[in-house]
């Protein structure tokens, strides 16, 4: 399984989760885990996803998510899981 971590940060507004999840669904990206909090009006979400069935190039996905973030007014990062796995797990 190829996993990807999507992090969303920014000012809270209506529909952030909906828009991000809709994009993921369109691209056949399965959600494995979501955690989300609001701290002092700031939206903070982490989504662990399975990108095994992704048809696009990963860099395209990353660019499109960044663009989606700009449209919503939040910052969206899309990173392969290994960078976190390597850093925090032996």
């Amino acid at each position: 399984m190829k996993k990807c971590i999507v992090t969303v940060l920014g000012k809270d507004t209506v529909g952030i989760v909906a828009k991000v999840c809709a994009y993921l669904a369109e691209n056949e990206i399965n959600i494995l885990d979501i955690s989300q909090t609001i701290i002092q009006g700031y939206f903070n979400m982490m989504v662990i996803t399975d990108v095994t069935n992704l048809k696009k190039d990963f860099t395209v996905l990353s660019d499109e998510m960044e663009k989606l973030g700009e449209e919503i007014g939040v910052s969206i990062r899309c990173q392969r899981e290994e960078i976190f796995e390597k850093m925090h797990r032996l």
Binding site: L32, N44, I48, T59, S62, R77, R80, E81, F84, K86
Partner: protein
């Protein structure tokens, strides 16, 4: 499974603490390009580099994007050109044509530096070595991307004082040849003792003859990450302090290992080593000096600096070693002056002197690095400084290096501007008593007694 705290810790390091992979350096052996015909040699070199490194930059960019980690530089190191050019180059000018070929190849594949315009002369010089060394000022002045180095000593061979004398003159001549740009040429010239074969960092990178045909070496960085982590253990004992440095170095190095593995796999080129160095940049919050100040020094250069640096360097290695399957290169804390805002500030404040920096080089990786000195400094004095630094490396069985910039037309109190990652530096005073009679002695300093470990 990875949790939110871990994800945000990693991303905070990247976004706010300047965590990056400083360089992916592709080492390319040019031994199979050797030819007695200069034109053929040049075309073979161009072809081999542009073929081997054609995907280096794009692969680096893909990895950056996929993992969300900046990879600041993609670079190339090659076999020391004094060896590669020996059969074809009869004069210093012949070697300059090779430098221009390397520069052109680097431009074609899109890398900002190519290292290996080098000679290894720790015991003695061949005619080819000497020609290459004599060509360095012109080569550096007439190219953009070439980095040059000369290994003039080792623990096993002693110090080649003829080469040290020549290198003093060459540093001076390189400064003269680029005097319109604050003697920038010297920022791309390193004089080594015990130079490693697998160093990915410029300006001293070259691919040693013990290496294979091509290899991926990665240099990590992260002084800002260590500084931030140490803020959490203010006032605590050395045990907590050291543990924190080790843990942080481990995390930083793991990123380097990941990137090295990915780059190696995608380029189909074997992975060599991760160089687990704390490499600063002139950016605020990316400084080794700031780490030392966080440890408890009012300013770098204050009493205690050498001890703090020794501890930092050792803990970085202890933390990093387990994080990578192969560690090599220079590995440790770098202390360049012009590339570290904290160092620059310490020089301004009158806390950091050339002599203190020399003491610091005894306990950290590399040596007197990116230090601007008055342009009037004589070649013999520069050779004297080089000899001192080489002696430290030879006796302590470590790599040491000198990258001094005698800034022509400038003196103590002035500022030299090199631009970009090379930064800027206040001109530091140099002891004005001479060492001419010492430097003019011919021959070499014998290897130290503890080198005979047979």
């Amino acid at each position: 499974m990875i949790n939110m705290y871990e994800v945000s810790e990693t991303n905070k390091m990247i976004e706010h603490e300047n965590l990056d992979v400083r360089t992916i350096t592709l080492g390319i052996s040019l031994l199979d390009c050797i030819d007695s015909d200069l034109n053929k040699l040049n075309s073979k070199i161009y072809e081999k580099i542009t073929k081997t490194a054609k995907d280096l930059v794009s692969v680096g960019q893909d990895i950056e994007k996929e993992f969300g980690i900046p990879i600041v530089n993609k670079r190339i190191s090659v076999t020391p050109i004094a060896l590669v050019g020996a059969a074809a180059c009869r004069t210093a000018e012949d070697f300059v044509t090779v430098a221009k070929t390397l520069d052109r190849a680097a431009e074609t594949v899109g890398v900002n530096f190519i290292g290996g315009y080098s000679a290894l002369v720790s015991k003695s010089m061949t005619k080819s070595d000497e020609n290459l060394i004599r060509s360095i000022p012109q080569a550096l002045a007439e190219t953009e991307r070439i980095c040059s180095s000369v290994n003039v000593g080792s623990t096993k061979t002693g110090i080649n004082m003829d080469a040290v004398r020549l290198c003093g003159e060459i540093v001076k001549a390189s400064a003269e040849a680029t005097k319109e740009r604050d003697s920038l040429g010297c920022a791309k010239l390193v004089i080594f003792c015990n130079a490693p074969d697998d160093n990915p960092f410029m300006a001293g990178a070259f691919l040693g003859v013990t290496e294979g045909d091509a290899v991926i070496n990665v240099g990590v960085s992260g002084p800002g990450v260590v500084k931030k982590a140490l803020e959490k253990v203010r006032g605590k004992g050395f045990e907590e302090l050291c543990e924190m440095i080790k843990k942080t170095a481990f995390k930083v190095t793991r990123v380097g290992q990941l990137v090295a593995g990915e780059a190696s796999q995608r380029l189909g080129i074997p992975f060599g080593i991760v160089d687990l160095s704390l490499a600063p940049t002139p950016a605020v919050g990316d400084s080794v000096a700031e780490i030392l100040e966080e440890i408890g020094l009012e300013r770098v250069g204050a009493p205690g600096t050498t001890a703090a640096l020794a501890m930092l360097n050792d803990q970085v290695k202890k933390g990093g070693v387990m994080a990578s399957s192969y560690v090599g290169g220079l590995s440790g804390a770098f202390i360049p002056v012009s590339e570290d805002q904290g160092m620059i500030d310490a020089v301004h404040a009158g806390s950091l002197t050339l002599e203190k920096l020399e003491a610091m080089t005894c306990v950290c990786s590399v040596g007197l690095d990116m230090i601007a000195i008055p342009g009037k400094t004589s070649a013999a004095t520069i050779s004297g400084i080089i000899a001192d630094e080489m002696a430290i490396g030879m006796v302590n069985q470590k790599t040491t290096a000198v990258r001094l910039i005698p800034v022509i037309g400038k003196d103590v109190g002035d500022m030299a501007e090199f631009g970009g990652l090379l930064g800027y530096a206040p001109i530091m005073p140099v002891n004005e008593f001479g060492c001419d009679a010492f430097i003019s002695r011919k021959g070499r300093i014998p290897a130290p007694i503890h080198s005979f470990k047979n």
